[in-house]
Symmetry: C2
Subunit: 202 residues, 2 copies
């Protein structure tokens, strides 16, 4: 990221926030709009992003080395900061992590992700970049489960990797597709975590 520089002149807006942060946000929003609107990665050009964001192409190239990096950054930007578990109760921490992935912004994230999935099948490198961005988030939950085992809250023989899948799989299918409309969104995180813990508790 560079600091604010003079660009097209059109971007002269209210003072207060640095110019570069405004431009960054406009660029990331433009990518998300294009992706969420069903444009494939191949169909998204830096030109189109620049036009939609109201910035010059150079502004984009100064900040991101290539289109793939920009797209992964845009998707990651929807997730917000990495959540920090309290560390007192496995249940509370898991519910917090699931709720953090179900905010309004994240539901839009679910839809954008759906549009990216076919791209991952076509482009393993893009898939790897996405995995690298998501891994720290997955690891937060992994640490919660490991701490639960160490403190005796969870079964000593719990399969941590399978558990990650059992907690995130249902949540993602609902976020992305509302896979089972008969499962209400209210209280979903609590219900899922409680059902999981019934079999996972020590």
């Amino acid at each position: 990221m560079t600091t604010a520089v003079t660009e097209t002149g059109q971007e002269r807006k209210a003072p207060g926030r640095p110019r570069s942060a405004q431009a960054d946000e406009a660029i990331l929003d433009a990518v998300l709009e294009l992706l969420g609107g069903g444009h494939s990665v191949a169909a998204i050009s830096i030109e189109a992003v620049a036009a939609k964001a109201g910035v010059g192409k150079a502004t984009i190239y100064r900040r991101w080395p290539n289109k793939e990096a920009l797209i992964i950054d845009a998707v990651a930007s929807m997730k917000g900061p990495l959540p920090v578990p309290v560390g007192e109760s496995v249940r509370d921490d898991l519910v917090m992590l699931l709720k953090a992935s179900r905010t309004g912004r994240s539901l839009r994230y679910g839809q954008v992700t759906v549009c990216l999935l076919p791209e991952f099948l076509k482009d393993e490198h893009l898939h790897d970049m996405w995995r690298a961005v998501m891994e720290p988030r997955r690891d937060v939950m992994r640490q919660v489960l490991r701490r639960g085992i160490a403190k005796g809250e969870l079964r000593a023989d719990l399969d941590v990797e399978l558990s990650l899948l059992m907690i995130n799989g249902p949540s993602m299918m609902q976020n992305m597709l509302q896979w089972n409309p008969a499962v209400p969104p209210e209280g979903f995180a609590e219900a899922l975590v409680d059902a999981f813990l019934r079999g996972a508790a020590a």
Copy 2:
């Protein structure tokens, strides 16, 4: 479905199977290849399907009322016949149902499904058609769970709809995306069902 009729003449192949069944299969395969190759529903034309399948457009229109019906039929054709649970053990039935959704053909199904998901966001009617095709399969598992509750194998207060999501969500995320590569495919169905039952058993 009509019985065999004379069409382009090009289709005169080895006798034995009815001509119409051969043509049907070629048509459905062509759709799946186009979908799996990353073509969007909008980008798939009846012309392209006909050319790929080596049949005339009329052959397709005689069998399917429109492109959407053809595409849903093609996706459904990958699932094979509706599985029939034995009804003796909830565990055995759930493992069988999960394994039925993880054959080689179904893994390809997972990939084709991934390519269809963005289309569902764009076209609610297509999504509804897909749900209608999938609902009988979902209902097979629902009946297994209900029978388990009735026979006292499962907790009386089990949330059946949440349970469907807890069993299918992790399985779909693995089939479609191999979401957690640290979870091995061997023994996956058994491990998931056993972990689920630990909390769901009476």
